[in-house]
């Protein structure tokens, strides 16, 4: 087995007695004191996540004319400096190679933040669009720490060099933290007020300790997954993959159809006309039972789909899940159930987000 990679915060997780897990080739903390406690720390106070496994690419050059603007569903020319946007890297069929956030650092510079498991694929895919300029993968030099929760602002304000109130949702600033360069971004994957911090590997352990000292609670990938699912956010490898379009995943509102050309656009427009053949549905179990990735979805005794994400939600007080259903078989009215080797249980349609 390939050896798992470790982030610059690995020793910190060890000091905190984290329970680690192999995730996308990285040894990452799944929890420290317990998923539920960490989940509530984020919903009610401020939680701290090591997300350094994610990848960061930097482009410098002619954004409008180098070809890079055709790589993603986001129009980087239109994107204002100091703003970032969620979007997709698609294949020709409109399937999602990755979902990513792109930051407009200035007129000629972009930062791409991508999923850990997709770093190599994404880099080559974006690079294949570029005819000029400098494109670099600096994933191994950049650490990413997320601070999320209603108290994250007042807590981070103690270290920030500017008024965090200036940052609107999906706004960011290239600034400093602890006398070192830092990008502070008003974004996150929890649905709470929060910030994503990009710093050097040297700065990360100091920043981690300082934020804990100021009152943030370390939280692992277990809590992060529950938090994102309560808000209905997609996770690559679950709701998103190369065989799935943004429309099928129910998130094509993030695609900028009108302005620029991008790989996969034709396929998406064609699908818009013809309709989707599968679609994500959201459901609860209305019980303490949890749906799990891979459980089959049934209707009228027939298999019509598969669960892509599932967990117990402490905030909802029930099992919650997302899954794909075959639109040729799916009946909008009929009862649904999920099956595993342990038997079946009823599920109930829900509106996203599960947690308002």
């Amino acid at each position: 087995m390939e050896e798992l990679k470790r982030t610059a915060l690995f020793d910190k997780h060890k000091e905190l007695n984290a329970r680690n897990v192999g995730f996308c080739g990285w040894e990452m903390p799944v929890s420290y004191t317990g998923v539920i406690k960490e989940h509530y720390a984020c919903r009610n106070e401020a939680a701290l996540f090591d997300i350094s496994h994610m990848g960061e690419f930097f482009y410098e050059g002619d954004i409008a004319n180098s070809g890079i603007n055709n790589a993603c569903t986001t129009d980087f020319v239109k994107l204002p400096i100091g703003k970032c946007k969620y979007g997709f890297l698609l294949n020709e069929k409109g399937g999602v190679i990755d979902d990513l956030i792109v930051y407009k650092l200035d007129d000629a510079r972009l930062m791409f933040v991508v999923n850990a498991a997709r770093i190599d694929v994404d880099f080559e895919q974006i690079k294949s669009h570029i005819k000029s300029g400098k494109f670099e993968n600096r994933s191994n030099e950049v650490s990413k720490i997320d601070i999320q929760g209603p108290k994250s602002k007042e807590l981070l304000q103690k270290l920030a060099l500017f008024d965090l109130g200036e940052l609107k949702f999906f706004g960011f600033k290239q600034s400093g933290l602890l006398n070192a360069p830092a990008i502070i971004s008003r974004t996150g994957y929890t649905g709470e007020l929060g910030y994503e911090l990009y710093v050097s590997n040297d700065t990360a352990p100091k920043l981690w300790d300082k934020l804990i000292e100021l009152g943030a609670t370390p939280a692992g990938l277990g809590a992060r997954d529950v938090l994102r699912l309560e808000k209905g956010y997609s996770l690559y490898g679950h709701e998103l993959n190369e065989e799935t379009t943004p429309a099928e995943a129910g998130i094509d509102m993030f695609v900028q159809y009108d302005s620029h050309d991008f790989t996969g656009k034709e396929a998406l427009l064609k699908q818009k006309e013809q309709g989707v053949s599968k679609k994500i549905i959201a459901f609860t179990t209305n019980s303490k039972r949890s749906p799990r990735d891979g459980f089959e979805i049934y209707q009228n005794g027939e298999k019509i789909g598969v669960v892509t994400s599932g967990t117990y939600s402490p905030s909802v007080g029930s099992g919650i899940g997302l899954g794909f259903v075959d639109m040729n078989l799916y009946d909008k009215e009929a009862n649904l159930e999920i099956k595993s080797e342990r038997g079946s249980m009823p599920i109930y349609r829900a509106k996203l987000p599960f947690l308002k």
Binding site: G34, V35, G222, R342
Partner: protein
């Protein structure tokens, strides 16, 4: 005296009644427990067969009968307060089995052997 299985159940034998729970290690690995599916009283199982089922926020696992026999009692409190397993796994029993072969108890791991086993995982 508690004895253990490789699947992380513990059992205590009093006469022919075995009290069964899950080890601290197992509960810690599972994380926050959210649901325990208990068997019916009267259900019987052979040693190492699945007898109950447990879920945490992010995981799920069968619970295997550490000894052959018939379920005579279940801890119904776990239906409303499964988190008591996280609070004290060694004091929180899950079910009681009337064992059909008390000799099987001798084949389970004692605490020292179990601790050596989990240290190797």
């Amino acid at each position: 005296m508690k004895k253990y299985t490789n699947e992380h159940e513990w059992a205590e034998l009093d006469g022919d009644i075995a009290t069964v729970g899950l080890s601290e290690y197992a509960i810690k690995e599972l994380g926050d427990i959210t649901f325990v599916e208990l068997p019916e009283i009267g259900q019987s199982a052979n040693k190492d067969e699945s007898i109950a089922f447990i879920e945490s926020v992010k995981a799920a696992s069968d619970i295997y009968a550490p000894l052959s026999g018939e379920v005579v009692e279940i801890n119904e409190e776990l239906e409303t307060a499964p988190e008591s397993l996280n609070e004290d796994a060694s004091a929180t029993w899950i079910l009681k089995i009337k064992v059909s072969d008390a000799g099987e108890f001798d084949t389970l791991l004692d605490e020292a052997a179990y601790n050596t086993f989990i240290a190797s995982l």
